[in-house]
Amino acid sequence: MASSIENNNEKLTLKSSDGEEFLVEKHVALQSTLLQNMLDSDCSSADVIPLPKIDARTLALVLGYCKKHADASSSKQGELNSFDSEFLKDMDMGALFNLVLAANFMEIKGLLDIAAQKIADTIKDKPHQEVREIFHVENDYTPEEEAAVREENRWAFEGFP
């Protein structure tokens, strides 16, 4: 925040897992605690920073989020909130999981929170069979085990199929 205008104009290059390079303004990159820590240490902004776990499509989304949040003034929280909900709207499950992984890896708390909330909202209100289908989670319980676990949590299934 206290950095000079000169510093704010600095740019750094991020490289996705699939080899695409992204030129990013430093104040945008600072939304990521991971990048902030790298810049605070001996990492020069002239270096290309590889992000081997994040593909170009996901990184573009992440940087779009960071730019919006870095550029918005603190008085525009309402605008940021509507940006956040639009940002994840209609996003397919694969992209959402890539995003939550990237946010976790790059330590971008706001993005991690909204992506995790979106996944949690998908779990809510749904029978466990449907949760398995949506996320392709394999049922590794035997029918007997499943019945026993369900019985232990019977109260949570009241009024549910």
Binding site: R57, V100, N104, A120, V137, N139, E152
Partner: protein, 137 residues
């Protein structure tokens, strides 16, 4: 962008991929912490064994009290400070967090806090028609 499309195509071929398999435990726990009612959390026990093993580690538990009817006691230094209706809360804690509670539905607050080392945040939503007449102080 060619590379991007190629990568996406490969991912789509593996369409039956378990999305949660890719997430480290810490991220799954973060998602569980966003479930606004402990009822949804408890239903997740039945989804898969991994979920079942992670749920007891959740740090944020939220619940609403509107359908609950038994009693949760808050005691401090042996003096009864207050009693609130939380009903199935005791059953939930006993079953899912493997706590050794007294058979009584009255729980000692210190015991709860002592055992739930992982929980950092407890959100309680009371119904707007909460009947204070049933509360004893």
């Amino acid at each position: 962008m060619r590379n991007v499309h190629q990568t996406l195509g490969e991912e789509e071929e593996a369409g039956a991929e378990n999305w949660f398999q890719r997430l480290p435990d810490v991220v799954v726990l973060h998602i569980f912490g966003k479930l606004s009612d402990v009822k949804w959390l408890c239903r997740c026990f039945v989804v898969t064994k991994r979920f079942s093993s992670l749920i007891p580690l959740v740090q944020t538990v939220s619940f609403v009290t509107k359908t609950w009817n038994s009693v949760f006691s808050i005691e401090e230094d042996g003096d009864l400070q207050g009693t609130i209706f939380l009903g199935k809360f005791s059953e939930f804690l006993t079953n899912n967090f493997r706590l050794a509670f007294l058979p009584s539905p009255r729980l000692n607050f210190h015991d709860v806090v002592f055992h739930l080392k992982q929980i950092e945040s407890l959100n309680i939503e009371f119904p707007s028609h909460f009947n204070a007449d049933n509360d004893s102080y």
